[in-house]
């Protein structure tokens, strides 16, 4: 299985390549990609440097142009696609049918991957994107159980890539606008979820309070580590009871599932985190490289090592990891 790793800047890209990535995915410095954060991502110049670096190590470069092209400046998405085709990236990751349609007509040789933001969770949807735009691969939303991934892999007309590790989206990607409901900005429109400009941290007598768009998302006791106020991971009141009503801060970790995913015919595993530091990328990629190598060497004797799990847990939200939707009881 191909190890697909994130990079929000050139140092992270180098960290990913140096630690064993098979492919690295990046985005441009604008709202054409779903991790549009200040100080992150690549200018056209930097993309060329990134391409040089990956090429010298036989690593593939994917570029995400995976937000929904907006009526206000549709040509910006068009330009992003043209740039990708012009410099010869190994794949363009896109979700919007207008972007896919343009790319497949204008640049028939450009390799297209369907972004997780397209929310394609079933064989008919995958066939739709395959027949109309010739996608070669699809990234599956984090909503399917392992059994459902296995069944889909049998019938899928394209390669499948699944999420392996990183922050856990609880909602079907591309179908969540909780963020714009509270802040006016969402992944679909501007590539932002719970944007930093809407966040406030306030030390109060009740503890640290985190707010988004002025609304209280969580309140942390002095002994608790305060987490970033993401709407799906706050503590809210439901029927008089305060709890993590949607999900607790946790990260997805599927090291345990490497054998099953491989046997199912999954082509690639994806590490989430273009917003993360080079050190984070280096450590996660290095652990996953070791695990995948060990599995390949000896599939029958594959055992997940404690230190890998410990290393990944330390890098996880709330120091906790989960199998997420792959496991039915989580659902």
């Amino acid at each position: 299985m191909e190890l697909v790793c994130p990079a929000g800047n050139l140092p992270s890209l180098k960290a990913a390549v140096d630690n064993g990535a098979d492919a690295v995915y990046i985005g441009f410095r604008d709202e054409t990609n779903a991790r549009h954060f200040a100080g992150l991502n690549f200018s056209d110049q930097r993309v060329l440097k990134a391409l040089d670096y990956v090429n010298s190590s036989q690593v593939r470069l994917f570029v995400a142009v995976n937000t929904y092209a907006q009526a206000t400046n549709w040509r910006q998405w068009q330009r992003a696609v043209d740039t990708c085709a012009g410099i010869g990236v190994n794949a363009l990751i896109a979700a919007d049918i207008s972007v896919l349609d343009y790319a497949s007509r204008r640049h028939p040789n450009l390799n297209l991957h369907l972004s997780v933001q397209a929310s394609a969770t079933n064989q008919a949807s995958l066939s739709f994107y395959h027949e109309h735009f010739g996608i070669k691969r699809a990234v599956l939303p984090r909503v399917l159980s392992l059994k459902q991934v296995e069944q889909l892999a049998q019938k899928s007309p394209v390669e499948l890539e699944v999420f392996a590790f990183g922050s856990l989206c609880i909602m079907a990607e591309g179908r969540c606008i909780l963020s714009s409901y509270v802040t006016g900005e969402s992944p679909n429109t501007v590539g932002a979820c719970s944007p930093a400009s809407a966040v406030r941290w306030q030390q109060t007598a009740n503890g640290m309070e985190t707010r988004l768009g002025g609304l209280l998302i969580d309140r942390f006791d002095h002994h608790e580590q305060a987490g970033y106020p993401t709407l799906c991971k706050g503590r809210f009141r439901v029927n008089g009871k305060v709890s993590h009503a949607i999900e607790a801060p946790t990260s997805l970790n599927t090291l345990d599932l490497i054998p099953q995913l491989h046997r199912a015919g999954v082509s690639a595993v994806k590490i989430e985190g273009r917003q993360r530091s080079p050190a984070y990328v280096a450590e996660v990629v290095s652990i996953w490289r070791k695990a995948l190598d060990q599995y390949q060497k000896n599939p029958e004797g594959f055992v997940v090592q404690e230190r890998w799990m410990g290393g990944l847990a330390r890098l996880s939200e709330g120091s906790q990891t989960t199998l997420g939707a792959y496991s039915r009881p989580w659902q």
């Binding site: 929904y68 092209a69 907006q70 009526a71 206000t72 549709w74 979700a95 919007d96 049918i97 207008s98 349609d101 343009y102 397209a118 929310s119 394609a120 969770t121 079933n122 064989q123 008919a124 949807s125 066939s127 739709f128 109309h132 909503v143 399917l144 459902q148 069944q151 609880i170 909602m171 079907a172 179908r175 969540c176 606008i177 909780l178 714009s180 409901y181 509270v182 006016g184 969402s186 679909n188 429109t189 768009g213 609304l215 209280l216 799906c232 706050g234 503590r235 809210f236 009141r237 439901v238 029927n239 009503a245 949607i246 999900e247 997420g324 939707a325 039915r328 009881p329 989580w330 659902q331």
Partner: protein
């Protein structure tokens, strides 16, 4: 301006659903969308039951559309979508690309619901080529965005595509593999005991300071406030919008439809029914939860 009633998003007992649609048959709603769009485990009504309601509504002069499931995970769910698309009698509202795939392959016209991501005229053009007759604006887009899209559609030579706007009701905001209603009852989804049926208009979720935030409805998360842009119908109509969708969380929606029909008949803009906490921020380019003034 047509008044339409969106699919029932909540899980009601069969008798209540039938009684509700008997009221709808006598209401001001001109088009009615029918079917389960949230959770395939809700099986109080089978497809045949929905078809019976559809025929009853049609006999009362309503235009009927069958809505398909939004988040499809299991093969059995996909089979259900395929069956709805092959009904051969009523137009289908696609709420996932799978339904677009089935309808366009069969060469039958289709419409799309608010969860199909169409954010530009160029995206609409792709589906228009495949048989799209009407679309619902994604709920997070503003009137300014809509005007640009409609202008561009005309430039692209597309003049026969109808536009519907989600005008009233809890806004559908997210879908998940996890069932939050079951989680709230400390049950797993596989053993949910169909607990949605106990909360006929969802479960309110508030911040620890008591601000209404969301409404939990099984695997779906809705807004905590009721979106209401009915008072914008005249500017919508002038821009080319042909229908306004109402989404009900109780049978009051019948009264909302009556009052709205009266406003249209009297060519009255301005204020419209607000029986409860409402919001309209998305329409004015703000956070959806906001209440903006025109």
């Amino acid at each position: 301006m047509q008044i339409t009633l969106g699919p029932l998003l909540f899980f009601w007992p069969k008798e209540q659903v039938i009684a509700f649609y008997e009221q709808v048959a006598q209401s001001a709603c001109q088009r009615v969308y029918l079917g389960e769009v949230v959770c395939s485990k809700r099986r109080e009504l089978k497809l045949d039951d929905w078809l019976a309601i559809a025929r009853m509504l049609q006999a009362s002069g309503k235009e009927v559309v069958l809505s398909s499931l939004t988040l499809i995970e299991a093969e059995s769910e996909l089979a259900q979508v395929s069956k709805v698309c092959a009904n051969g009698e009523f137009v289908v509202e696609a709420n996932d690309m799978s339904a677009v795939h089935y309808a366009s392959r069969a060469g039958v016209p289709f419409v799309t619901g608010p969860s199909v991501n169409l954010y530009s005229a160029e995206a609409l053009q792709v589906l228009h080529r495949l048989g799209l007759k009407r679309w619902v604006l994604p709920v997070e887009l503003s009137f300014d965005h809509l005007k640009l899209i409609l202008l561009r559609l005309r430039e692209l030579g597309i003049t026969d595509l109808e536009t519907e706007v989600f005008g009233f009701g809890y806004l559908p905001l997210a879908y998940s593999a996890r069932c939050f209603t079951a989680r709230n009852e400390e049950l797993g989804k596989d053993h949910c005991q169909f607990s949605c049926i106990k909360s006929s208009s969802g479960i309110p979720l508030a911040t620890q300071e008591g601000d209404a935030l969301f409404t939990i409805n099984g695997i779906q998360t809705l807004s905590g406030s009721c979106h209401n842009v009915l008072d914008q119908w005249q500017v919508m109509q002038a821009a080319g919008v042909t229908a306004m969708r109402l989404s009900g969380h109780n049978s009051d929606i019948i009264n909302v439809a009556e009052e709205f029909a009266l406003a249209i008949a009297n060519n009255a803009g301005g204020k419209t029914v607000t029986q409860e906490r409402s919001c309209n921020g998305y329409w004015f380019g703000q956070a959806g939860i906001c209440t903006a003034r025109n």
